[in-house]
């Protein structure tokens, strides 16, 4: 199955690095967003396998995106990718449903590893549909 990724970051250079790394690891880029509201809109439209999400963005931040996406899809796989590494911010992100966190500047290997874990976890969780088939 194709693994699709939504990249959310206001920094073009980070979107480029994530894109390049994910494509090299066999991912398809579903879309890119530059703030939290765009992230929600694109998530609902594209239904990607995973999301990389920055925290500090203009107008609507990462917390806004987390809240909106998780409300619409509690199974969403969101990897927070931020230079902010502060206890209160991270606690809030995980409370809202973030799956993992990587601090910027990040190691590309670690990014791929984390993305793979997210989709793997998703596959291992027995969904209602698979239970019915079984």
């Amino acid at each position: 199955m194709t693994k699709t990724l939504l990249i959310v970051d206001d920094a073009l250079i980070i979107r480029e690095i994530v894109k390049e790394t994910a494509i090299a690891a066999g991912w398809e880029i579903a879309g890119e967003a530059i703030n939290g509201q765009e992230a929600i809109d694109l998530y609902l439209k594209l239904k990607p396998s995973a999301v990389t999400l920055d925290m500090v963005m203009p107008e609507y931040d990462g917390i806004h995106a987390l809240r909106g996406i998780m409300e619409a899809d509690p199974e969403a796989k969101i990897l927070v990718l931020s230079a902010l590494d502060q206890k209160t911010v991270l606690q809030q992100a995980f409370k809202l449903g973030a799956s993992d966190f990587i601090v910027k500047p990040f190691n590309k290997g670690r990014l791929v590893e984390s993305l793979e874990c997210l989709v793997l976890e998703g596959e291992n969780i027995p969904t209602t549909e698979t239970n019915t088939i079984a």
């Binding site: 230079a83 902010l84 590494d85 502060q86 910027k104 500047p105």
Partner: protein, 202 residues
Amino acid sequence: MLPTKTAHETNLEFLHQLFASATHDASAAMCRWTDGLITLSLDEVLEIPLEDVCSELNIDDELLTMVVLSLVGEVGGEMILTFDEENGRQLAASLLHRPVNREEQWSALEQSALCETGNILGCAYMNALTRLIDAELVPTPPYFIQDFGASVLEQALITQAATCDKVLICRTAFHREGEELNWRVIFVPTKKMQDLMEQELV
């Protein structure tokens, strides 16, 4: 008799230690971001009368490329990352793994490379300060600006100028393979942040 330090000098010394520790963390982040190329160290923590800031920092009407981050709120401040044209271009080129761009206009990707450098540095500083003073410090997204250095510094000083007649400034130096670069980070914390830091030092 040996000259004794005033309480004020002692506070500046403590603040220097606190910022040196934050700079250490920021240097580690910078080193990772530039593949080990660039490190930084704290130059000075200065308290300067408002009217002398530009001359003391030797920032006047030269055209600089700058990235500005703000910490909004009482416990806040301004952080400015400054480069001359050549150094800014070189950093962008090295981050993008491309030859140095000689076009007059900076490309969106070059601007983004510098902004993200500011973001990574600023956040690394704030992450360290958060651990030291137990406050949430989230900067605004970085703002790219090319203008007279003093014009930008002046606006960054406004919040401090509203409450004090002297401003506290941390100045940082950058190094590439031991050689000092013509880049600077200037951090101007608000009075409230200084007070919090001083409380932590007691």
